[in-house]
């Protein structure tokens, strides 16, 4: 049902392929996700021991939260140890049943379904004390990659 809701919102904005509409849809879905992420983090990080460092938080995201969201863990996590994390999910649940006659078309349609999860990640991390920007892309359905960049607080 949640998937359908997201779908509902996504399709509502997609009526016109206008760049501006795309932009506002992105903003809307992302901020909805942000709030959901905040709630999820609060709900599911409550009963666990304090995080030791940022990597610990990211691991929590990849394992626990991802399982809550998509019933599986993130398949691959890479980091440059300077605040950039790349999460690869090789079978992203929302893409599981997507198909389209033309591959490139499928990929551009699928992009819209990444925005809500982006917001969730950003919201969850923000609530756990890490300010980030999150970008997601997919080049090969049903896989998806999320790039998380931590923002250093200004001195």
């Amino acid at each position: 049902m949640a998937e359908r809701m997201a779908k509902e919102l996504a399709t509502e904005g997609k009526e016109s392929e206008d760049e501006e509409v795309r932009e506002t849809t992105f903003f809307r879905l992302e901020s909805l996700g942000y709030r959901v992420g905040q709630g999820l983090a609060e709900r599911f990080a409550r009963d666990r021991p304090r995080f030791t460092d940022n990597l610990d938080v990211i691991k929590f995201l990849c394992k626990d939260l991802w399982t809550v969201l998509f019933k599986k863990q993130v398949d691959n996590l890479k980091t440059n140890h300077r605040g950039v994390y790349v999460l690869t999910d090789s079978a992203f649940r929302p893409f599981g049943r997507m198909s389209m006659a033309v591959r490139s078309e499928a990929i551009s349609m699928a992009q819209a379904y990444l925005w809500f999860p982006c917001g969730i990640i950003r919201g969850a991390l923000a609530n756990l004390g890490i300010n980030t920007t999150v970008q997601a892309e997919t080049s090969d359905l049903p896989g998806a990659t999320f790039q998380i960049k931590t923002l250093q607080p200004r001195p």
Binding site: M5, A6, E8, L32, G39, L40
Partner: protein
Amino acid sequence: MTNGFRCISVLEPELIGFLHMRRTRVDKVNAELVTLTYGTIVAQLCQDYDSNYQDVNKQLDKMGYNIGMRLIEDFLAKSGVGRCANFRETADMIAKVGFKIFLNVTPTVTNWTSDNTQFSLIFEENPLADFVELPDDGRAQDELWFSNILCGVLRGSLEMVQMQIEAHFVSDVLRGDDTTEMRVSLVRYIEDEMPPEEE
């Protein structure tokens, strides 16, 4: 889960077998994710419409309608049930199979009118409304139907199977009422119409 089976026994026994099978087949989504997502959507709508709750109700109903029109297909595919003989059967199907599949709750069907066209669904639990508090502005308590999307879902999905209905909430525990009750009335069965002839 266990008492779900007892309720269902009024329907055909095959149904029980099918529900058994279904449990392994259907993808489930975390309930709290649904709750949080839905809550966020409603909160966003309240903000968008500047706390004009009539408009929020209307918009939720419309979103539900669009979901329902597509959800019915999912329902038929997952449940594999056939045509209902009458509206009473339809009501049971909605409560005991539909709500069970999609929200894992079984509202009670009650308060039938004597002509069998109107009934109430009483929700003992409502996953959409967990952890929810309505805005404390003195109006939301009287104007906002938080779970109004469900009315739209029923309207949309039944329209796809030739039933025009009207659905609205009459009480909600979130407003301080004792029960959460939705009133559903059958307007008419939609007759198949021939497509306008092409000339």
